[in-house]
Point group: C2
Chain length 223, copies 2
Amino acid sequence: MQNITETTPLEPEELQQLAGLAERRRAIKRYQHLYHTGSSFQYLYLIRAGSFKSYTADTSGRQQITGFHLSSELVGTAAIGTGRHICDVVALEDSSVYKISCAEIERLVHKIPMLQRCLQRALSREFERNYKVMMLLGSMKAEERLAMFLLDLSQRFAMQGYSATEFDLRMTREEIGSYLGLKFETVSRMFSSFRESRSIEVKNRSIEIKDLDRLRQMVGYFA
Amino acid sequence: MQNITETTPLEPEELQQLAGLAERRRAIKRYQHLYHTGSSFQYLYLIRAGSFKSYTADTSGRQQITGFHLSSELVGTAAIGTGRHICDVVALEDSSVYKISCAEIERLVHKIPMLQRCLQRALSREFERNYKVMMLLGSMKAEERLAMFLLDLSQRFAMQGYSATEFDLRMTREEIGSYLGLKFETVSRMFSSFRESRSIEVKNRSIEIKDLDRLRQMVGYFA
DNA sequence: CGCGATTTTGACGGCACTCAAGCGCCGTGG
DNA sequence: CCACGGCGCTTGAGTGCCGTCAAAATCGCG
């Protein structure tokens, strides 16, 4: 499961590669945009600290969340192919990013084949995730969706060296619901249900996974 | 709406560009595969006649349909970024394709900037469709999904110069359902419901759209 | 401290899924 | 040529999940 065509979690060594390219860091305040839909592709952003959400407007104007982005992940890669950003990205909290100029990348890709491979692997991972998201939204039940969401977050936190079982959500129930194709009341009910089955401890935004295996069972085949 | 990261409808002039590159045509019998998941990316396929479906195995082994491909559309483009195919593609009927070698494209892209733009535009369209598919599966009702499916087919047939209102489906109700995240019984019921409201005439696989506007209204905001 | 935003929980209803039966179409073989 | 069988399709009945509406509790920002 995971973000569609936007977030790109990086292996530690890939991260180092890219950090070297970072021209400068930039502070992004809560609710501030990294970029807007349709704006031209100038930079990739490597998240140094904080978190973001990306969304598109469903044609009635409300936002449809398409992904969440955590620290040490790469944002903006979907625009590589098209030259224009295809969604809005906004900070969920005060954050900090490295800006990596698109032109700079182009130049260096020719010099350093390693970097080419690194970016290709990143794009490849994104493509494969599209299919998982499709299956998620197409056929999974609310319980399965939320379990998958938690496992996904858990794995991404672990990848950065944080705890895989204790973390804080940075997004509202409504944002989670939008991402998973559920109403926020359903998300809330599922959290309560997970608590009653002792799979997790949840107090507002703080999550502690008590029974990782049970979550995995819920996701079942889709893992 | 439409296929995720796999099909690429082409404008007539783009089609001509690519037809020039076609090395040779190849006949594909019904149920025969064009390529398998994981196989290395060797060719793009321009469909000359016939139709295909692409699917991935949801981990329990059943196939999850991810797209349908009609004549004069380009198949296999999703693998450009990754070098490996990420789904299986199989013929729904006896078909014929042009094979366009990957190496050939690479060479010509350097010579003809026009072709580069053509492929980029194609990829761009695919990316944007991902979002529509996400919204479709995330929040639309069965009626809206099927209406959108029919309008999408209608538009693609029209693009090839065929009738936008009368066409034959090449896929089963079950395949449509898999694609739209519905059970085949629900698809069947919706077809019957559309018939009762005089929006379409439907007899087995043959479809005649009687009230295009009504279908558009059903899709509503999502159009 | 106070107010708006977020979250929880309950009651209720509708849409889509499940299970099941029956029909139509078509290819195969007697 | 017809009988048969299989597959796809339709339709019905019943159920369950999730969305809607509503109210109350809690959080957190100013």
